[in-house]
Homo-oligomer: 137 residues x 4
């Protein structure tokens, strides 16, 4: 199995919140990640749409998986998200992480979340600090 | 009861995700909100610390409650968060929203999340669009 | 002449700071803008590289031109930038604005700045509020 | 002279763009900086108000001075700014940097820019990476 998949296995297999969210890994990779999940009843807010924390959490997981996929332990230092469409019960969303820039210590990712009809529902930008420790997997 | 509390009641009473998080309202207000919650097992990620989506969700709720507390329906347009300390099982966190700027259409909030030992664990900045619709409460 | 070019003409022709920067319009459009400039001596900071304010200013102009290019007066509400490479005297940089999302009141743009060797030097994200006033051009 | 002031001297004395802006140092410090400047004709945009790049540049300088003031070379990794009020010719603005969080590798600053009438005109948040190199001053 590829290094990226072994690292993400290690992260994902012990991640109770990703399990609660029902996150499905569509693609792993060095600097890449595609994740999918479905909006459930308990993820809604008072407007009957998905709470902003749900789409953020999906994007944040994609950031962690993509950046750690290089095999170096990496931690989020700053993230931002714009919620551009609201989500209803049963909507299926897919987060795609793209590595925009990488240096020895810092990497930047754009993560786009789309609904089943391909409409962009959230735009996320994340910056990570790349530690000097490698994953032992 | 104050307008802000009636609005937040309406939002909170029908918010399954805030309930799942166990969010407790410490203070409601026009442009203000203080919220508290405790980190549970199912909120942890693969590093045994709280998933970034948890602190984001708490801050995002504080943003919604503070901005709608003026009585005008307001929606998030851009948010950013820096996670500055990690959180363990059982940690109690408090989010305090402060209104930094408000105009007819746009308002900006700083939300600081602190742990039980007063250490800052996350810094959140949120911008909302203030619609022309009032809450009918 | 197209509406977008007439609007950007009006904005650009009376913009002393864009002139000082030496901004050249490569492409105008509704939701689009490509701008180019060259790093001069007086744009450097104490490390002999371009001051962060220079690349920000170029991206911010691209944001204004792209969003107003639809013919509706639009104002910036939140912007962020990551400086991923440093710039030296004589470097030529090109900012390309892409519209990621647009609704009646809010639009979001990604603006990528590249050096003459195509290397990405800055990643900018900008959110604008679209007023109800049209440009009279 | 204090370490922070020696570092900022070194940075500022060779900074042509800060000179062009007319930046005046009101206070130097480890994790602190207060800077002031006046809006001039050539800093205006097509709406006869200060270009967004001007207030960004002032805040970005405050970020550099405050973070490097600890004596460790520090570089910006992500910055965001909201422009909350417009500025006219002759307005005097003051940027105050506050250190919100600092660890071995990462520090976060809030920089507030106020006009002569104390009105907040811009809210800036900046994250820096702290290298392992010390300033030799």
């Amino acid at each position: 199995m590829e290094l990226a998949s072994r690292v993400v296995d290690r992260m994902y297999n012990n991640d109770p919140f990703s399990k609660w969210l029902g996150i499905e890994r569509v693609e792993d990779g060095a600097g890449k990640s595609v994740l999918r999940m479905t909006i459930r009843e308990e993820m809604l807010n008072g407007f009957d749409i998905a709470h902003g924390g749900i789409t953020y959490a999906l994007a944040d997981s994609a950031l962690a998986f993509a950046s750690n996929g290089h095999g170096r332990m990496s931690v989020s230092v700053e993230t931002s998200i714009s919620h551009t469409e609201s989500l209803k019960l049963g909507d299926v969303i897919t987060a795609t992480a793209e590595e925009m820039s990488i240096s020895n210590k810092i990497a930047v990712y754009h993560i786009t979340i789309r609904r089943q009809d391909e409409k962009v529902v959230a735009l996320f930008k994340g910056t990570v600090y790349r530690t000097s420790k490698d994953w032992d997997v």
